[in-house]
């Protein structure tokens, strides 16, 4: 066998090993109860409870925002987000949070919003009366 083939095989084996290790970084979206039982940092999808107060008071702490999220199982918990309140948060359809449970609260360090797509309204097309 040629050296180059040996090296190619070594690289392929290394590739498979590394790809397998890379899959460890991937997760599935967790729920509150899963986050609680694992105790690890997870990604969680949920909906913002719009009837509960979003507390963000930048004059006290610009890195502290709290609100309530209902997860895929319908369980609702308080979430503390350690950053600014995202723009258009109230209009979000779905929220993806990265964080972990701490006591009864979910402490998140990052957030991704899924917002409804642009609403095609007739008004949009009509020239305003000038």
């Amino acid at each position: 066998m040629k050296k180059i083939h040996i090296i190619a095989i070594v690289i392929i084996i290394a590739a498979i090993a590394i790809l397998l290790s890379a899959t460890k970084d991937m997760g599935t979206y967790a729920t509150f109860s899963e986050a609680e039982s694992s105790g690890k940092i997870v990604k969680l999808v949920g909906e913002l409870s719009k009837d509960k107060v979003i507390e963000y008071n930048p004059q006290v702490d610009p890195n502290y925002c709290s609100f309530h999220i209902k997860d895929a199982d319908g369980q609702e918990k308080k979430v503390i987000l350690l950053m600014e309140k995202p723009h258009d948060f109230e209009r979000s359809e779905k929220v993806v949070l990265t964080g972990k449970m701490k006591g009864e609260e979910f402490v998140a360090t990052s957030v991704l919003l899924k917002c409804p797509s642009k609403y095609q309204d007739e008004e949009l097309f009509i020239r305003a009366e000038s």
Partner: protein
Amino acid sequence: MDQIQYIGERIWPGNLGHFLIVLSFVASLFAAATFIMAQKRRDGEEFNSWKRMGNIGFAIHGVSILSAIGLLFFIMINQYYEYQYVNGHVSDDLQMRYIFSAFWEGQEGSFMLWMFWHVILGGVILWRADQWQAPVLAVISIIQLFLLSMILGVHIPFGEETIKIGSSPFLLLREVFDLPLFSKANYVELLQGQGLNIALQNYWMTIHPPTLFLGFAATSVPFAYAIAGLWSGTHKESMKAILPWALFTGGILGTGILMGAAWAYEALSFGGYWAWDPVENTSLVPWLILIAALHSNLIAKATGYSIKSTYLFYILTFIFVLYSTYLTRSGILGDSSAHAFTEMGLEAQLIFFIAFFLIGGLWLYFKNSKSIVVPEKEEATFSKEFWMFIGSLILIFSAVLITFTTSIPVYNVIGEIFGLEMNLSSPDDVVAHHNKYQIWIGVLIGILSGFAQFLRWKEFDFARRFSSLGKQIALTLAITIVCTVLTIRLLDYPSAPNILLVFAGYYAIFSNLDYIIFMIRGKMKIAGSAFSHIGFGLFVLGVIASGVNKSYLSSNPYAQRGLFEEFDYEKNVTLIKGLPMYMNDYKVTYLRDTFDGFHRYYHINFKELGDSSGTVQDEFDSYPSIIYDKNFKFASVNPSTKRYAQKDIFNHLAGAPEAELDPERAREIEDSLSYVFQEMAINRPITLTDTVKVDDARFPRFHQIQLLNVRRTGEHPEYLSQEGDLVFSADLEIQKYEADSTIRKQAMIVLRENLLFNFPAQINTMGWKAKLTEEFINRYFEIESNLSYRPFTLKEGQTARFSDYTIELAGFDRQPENPGYSALPNDIAIAAVLNIKDSEDNLICQLRPIYLVRNSQVYIIKDESFQHGFSAKFANVDPQAETFTVSLAEYDLEQLSFPVAIAQDSPRNDWIVLESIVFPGINLVWVGSILMMFGLFFSIWNRISRH
């Protein structure tokens, strides 16, 4: 059903556009078929006539595509809003310099841009007319055929359903949307355009897409040559012919990616030049494979090894460009990427596109690669070809790793097809995930790109070679180690991979410098590869410096709660207007905010303080901004970066008062305030009470507010005066409980053509807001109508008694200014200058009422001072007697009051949340990557000039 005869609808561009696209489609089909025939008969007599037909087909294809592009530009420039593409991307207020950006903002336009470059590149190949022309243009014509199908807009009935092929840019709005509006015959004149997304209105959007698409289009050329090479079996020649194209493609695609990174860094808010975003990744992957192919190609050309892998890598480069297109345009990325185009229903077409070229390319590869002659002898262990090929494999490996993670949404979709709900999520920290693996790629590439330069092709006696080079290699290593050791001390996190990457970076730089100086002895013409490798070394050092030593300036550990120690979250600080904030040796003050069109700039002053003495070492101003859409709703933020040679300070707004981001929310907040009308007499303070909570008890606090003056002028940063405006303003003075000083504010209301514009006074330190309403204006006129004027006829300089005062006609002002008067060219306007003095002859106030003759009509414009309680009119002029009649009235300040609405629960609006990041050594990233691209272009120039 009756067809509506629409008025003003211009049908011809749509018909012409559809015709051009179909013509172009048919012509590319014809060109592909005839070029294939030409290639099949390449040794026969018919070759030339087939090729000529192919040329004609390609020319017609090119001309019709260029015409379609021209036509789309025409209807965009002339604002034919009845067309969906025009409506979606152009608006009346769009500046012409953004017309290109608007053109390629949408899917259809960007497909056309891509095809445009294929036509240009195809034109170059046609013009050069060498042996590769027919097969290469055959492949490019087939690619064009697929791209055209994306904008074909043909509907084919298929049983019950219709299959839609592509989406045409020449569709009418009413063919896309079903709205009641289209029942009106004159709907065209009612239309307005949606315009170009305000965040895309910058020069990056003008230069980044065409460069990137030229890069994408250029990958088709090495691909087409690879197919042509496999097809014709002339592998040696093809390896030579591809190389300059591959260098060109590498340089352009790399520049395009780099521009994207620079744009992200300059204008977007994620704080960095690379976020491992799926779209960034899928444009990087083809580039990495291309660079692997390029090195493999060099081996093939010099030694005859690696021809197969060269073909395979060029094919994969193009396939991954298509995969990138699929990911960004099929909608599969959803909301997980900033770049994703909205869905256009092209998913199936794109999959077919990839499948065709992947299966076709690999089939040809496996069928014809047997004809490739491989040198019998194995590569020597210390030959250039051996280690260069290892380097190529590492680049491929990098591409595989990146693609593996980026394709997670694809796994979910494939899972769904088989009924599996995988619900896979991308890594929690995508950046850390990719960095963790790619750092080793960087280490290996850095070392190889230095080491391999010293090896020779087909090395047969490395021991001898080593003995002559040994000293030199040792010297380079010594310098590298010294620099690495010195640099490690500066690193915040000197982990093993970080140290090794620093070593690899320095090694790439020094060994390639060594190569230029001692190996090629300054023969710059062949130094292209050394430039690129030095560039890579600098780039790697820049990545380490700006990535590992990146730090947040915007944290103030004393001012922030320390509840969550295990999380690193102290990224933002809140700044209050006018109040300095101390953060990490900087004194930072938010001074003011100003408007410029749809931008709101926040003026922030940074002072770098010396250790303890507090002396200012450095000072600069930063202007991060937010951008509004046309409804003055928040659209995006623009960071502001202070650049130094050795570092950047990147500032970006993480938050601002909600009322400043969304007019709807501002209205909601305004409506929620509890305003109470206060009757305010001039110069008579009233007391308002707040309660303050200390522990659980509430204590009252008594504040005073008084009305100083009511005027008919006013100023406000957001108020631009217009002729005919009626302006009313109230000067207020507020004395906060137990405060040493008072605060003065002006509340204003403007009546403009039956509309009221309110400019309330926000008193932030107390959370108060005072506004004037219609009642204020009514009261003003009510007071005015109850005044009784007393006439006086005076000569200039004369005085008269008016209750306890003396009035004096002190003189005249022939260029009078008065809030109620704006001058016109033929006006005759004189103001009487009236001095009002008290019994002790002290001047109390001066009034200047105006007597105006305009178009032989007389107008009387009064002047007043609520502060002092007088109003005056200039009633008549008697030129013969040289006397002047003025009328005076006195306000009863005891009785008179104005209603002012005051809310004591208004949230303060003078703060912002700032994120401020220091990127040390970031310029190395830019210099290094530019040098990398320069090396590629330099090599083409060298190769072309050699022939």
